[in-house]
Amino acid sequence: MSERVLMKGNEALAEAALRAGCRFFAGYPITPQTEILEYLSWRMDEVGGSYTQAESELAAVNMVYGASSGGARALTTSSGPGFSLKQEGISYLCGADLPAVIVNVMRIGSGLGNIFQGQGDYWQMTRGGGHGDYRTIVLAPNSAQENADLMVLAFDLAEKYRHPVLIASDAAIGQSIEAVELPEFRDHDLNKYDWPVRGAKADEPIRTVKNVFYSMGDAYEDYLRDKYAQIEAEEQRWESIQVEDAELVLVAFGISSRVCEEAVEGARAKGLKVGLIRPITLWPFPVKAFEKAVNAKAFLTNEMNLLGQTMDDIRLATGCRVPVYHSGSIFAITDTNDLIVRIEEVMEEVKGGGQ
C-alpha cells in the first residue's frame, strides 16, 4: 500500500528516487536544491546505497557517469549555476549512451541570479546545454506529488533509451510542503541489461563504455536519428484543460501552470473561452497537444523568465498560425488576478486585429 505523507517537494523527489531503485547519489550544496542532498545524506545509507557530497558539480556528475557505467540508477541534482557545471557530464552521458537522472531545481537569473523560483533554464535544458549534437528528455513536475511521480518515470525513460533524463523542478515546488503519495519500493538489478561493466573472464568478450561513435562508426548517424525520432514520437506528455473551444490557450509548465489552472477557472467564470496546455515533457515538446487547439486565436505563455523561452516552441508547434504572447516575471510567481487581467488584454488585442 502506498503511503500518503506531508513532505517538502525536494524531499519527495529524493525519497521517490530511492523507491525507484536509485542507489547512487553524488551532489553539491546549492540553494534551492540542497534539501535533496541533505535528505539523501542520511537516507541513502538506510537503503544500502552510496551517497557522496562531491567537491563540485563537475565531480558529482562524472561520478554519476561512472556509477551508470556499472548499471546503477544514478542521480545528481543541482540548481542554476551548478546545473551549468553539469553540462560536461550530461554531454558525455549522451555520447556514451548512459542513463542517468539530473535534476535542476531552477532559480532565477543568469550568473548568480538569486535563489528564488525561476524558469529561465528552459532553453538550456531543452536544447542540450552542453557541447555537441544532443538533446535530452526533460520532465517538468508542477507539485511535490509530481516531483515523486516523474522521478520514477525519469529513471524508466533513461533506461529505456540509455540516455540521461532531466527534471525541471523549481524553488517553489522544491520548497513547498504538500501531501504526497509515495511510490512503492522497486528493486533494481545492476545486471538487468548486458551493457554495464562488471568484469570479463579471459574467454568472454569485454564490455566498454565509451563514445558510442567509436564503436558504431557510420551506423551511428542512423542510430542517433532513430533514437531522437522515437523519443519525439512516443514520449510527448502534457495535460490539457478546456482547450478545444478555447479562443485563448495558456501555455505553462511547472509551478506557473498551477496559477494558469486557477486563471482558466476565473476567466471561464467571466465568460471568457480560455484553456491551458501544460507541457509535462519540455522536450519532446508536446506538439500533439496543439492539434486540439483548433479555435485558438492566440496563445499566452506564463513563465518565470523575461524572454518568453517557450514561445519559440509554441510557434513551431502551431506553424506560427496565430500570435503568441508572453506573461510572467522573474521576481514572483504571477498572481492569478493579474494573469486574468492580462488574459483580458490579450483577448481584446486579438479581437482588434492581433499582434
Binding site: A26, E55, N62, G71, A72, G199, A202, T208, V209
Partner: protein, 244 residues
C-alpha cells in the same frame, strides 16, 4: 627468462609511440591483475588522452571517462560495483591540471580505488604542450623558449600535496630500465593488495618517457627521465611503503 605477454593483453590494436611508457604500464597492470587472480573482476576507467588506447589492448571491462574526470568516474563505478576492484588510469594533465580538484578530494576523502597516473611532464595526446609537471626550462609547443617556472610554477609533486592525507599507499616509479620496471610492478602490486583490502586510495605515479613530444630519441628520452625528471620527481614510496 620468461618473455610472454600477459593473457589480458590482446595485441589487437596498439597505438602507442615507440619508446612510450604506456605500453609497459599497461602490461604491468595486466600482469599484476593476473598474478593476484582478479583479472576476471577488474574494472578500469581510462582518460580520453593517450592512456585511453589501453581500451583496445586490455582484456578488461573498461569505461572511458571525460578528461580529468577519470578518478571520479572510477569512484562512482566502485561505489556501484563494490565487489569489483576498480582502477583509474590517466595522465599528469588529467591528474594535476584539469582534474586537480578531483585528485585532491579523492585523497582527502581517501576514496577506495587504485589510481595509476602516468607522468610524462607534458600533454601528449594534444601534441606536446606544457603541463603542471613540465620541468623548468622544458621546451614544449606552448613554451617554445622553455618553461618559465616563475610564471608557470615548479613541477607539481603529488607527495607534497598529499602529505597530510591519510591514504594507504602513495608511490612513484619509473617505466624505464629493468630494475625500475620491476620496482614499478611491485608498487602496482602493493596498490592492488591494499585496494583489495579496502584500505582506500592507492596511488601510484609512473614516470614515462614521451619521445615523440619531447622530440628526443628513445634512449635520450630514457636519459632525460632518469637524469632530469627524477631531480623533481623522486622515485620511491611515500606512504604505506615496503613494497617487496
Amino acid at each position: 627468462m620468461k618473455l610472454k605477454a600477459p593473457d589480458r593483453i590482446t595485441f589487437s590494436h596498439f597505438g602507442f609511440c615507440p619508446g612510450c611508457g604506456h605500453g609497459v604500464a599497461g602490461r604491468l597492470i595486466a600482469e599484476v591483475a593476473e598474478e593476484m587472480g582478479v583479472a576476471d573482476k577488474l574494472l578500469t576507467a581510462v582518460d580520453v588522452a593517450c592512456g585511453s588506447m589501453h581500451m583496445n589492448d586490455w582484456h578488461f571491462d573498461t569505461v572511458m571517462a571525460a578528461h580529468g574526470r577519470t578518478l571520479v568516474t572510477a569512484i562512482g563505478l566502485k561505489k556501484t560495483r563494490r565487489d569489483n576492484p576498480v582502477l583509474a588510469y590517466y595522465g599528469d594533465g588529467a591528474a594535476y591540471a584539469i582534474g586537480m580538484a578531483e585528485t585532491m578530494h579523492a585523497g582527502l576523502r581517501n576514496e577506495n580505488v587504485i589510481a595509476i597516473v602516468v607522468n610524462n611532464a607534458i600533454f601528449g595526446m594534444t601534441g606536446g604542450q606544457m603541463a603542471p609537471t613540465s620541468l623548468p626550462g622544458q621546451k614544449t609547443t606552448s613554451s617554445p623558449l622553455g618553461k618559465d617556472a616563475v610564471r608557470f610554477g615548479q613541477p607539481f609533486k603529488v607527495e607534497e600535496a598529499f602529505s597530510g592525507f591519510d591514504i594507504p599507499y602513495l608511490a612513484r616509479g619509473a617505466l624505464v630500465g629493468a630494475a625500475n620496471v620491476n620496482r614499478a610492478k611491485k608498487m602496482i602490486k602493493k596498490a592492488f593488495e591494499k585496494h583489495l583490502d579496502n584500505q582506500g586510495l592507492c596511488y601510484v605515479e609512473l614516470l614515462s618517457p614521451c619521445p615523440t613530444n619531447w622530440n628526443l630519441e628513445p634512449l635520450d628520452s630514457k636519459r632525460f627521465l632518469l637524469e632530469e625528471m627524477t631531480k623533481h620527481f623522486p622515485l620511491g614510496e611515500f606512504k604505506g611503503g615496503d613494497a617487496k
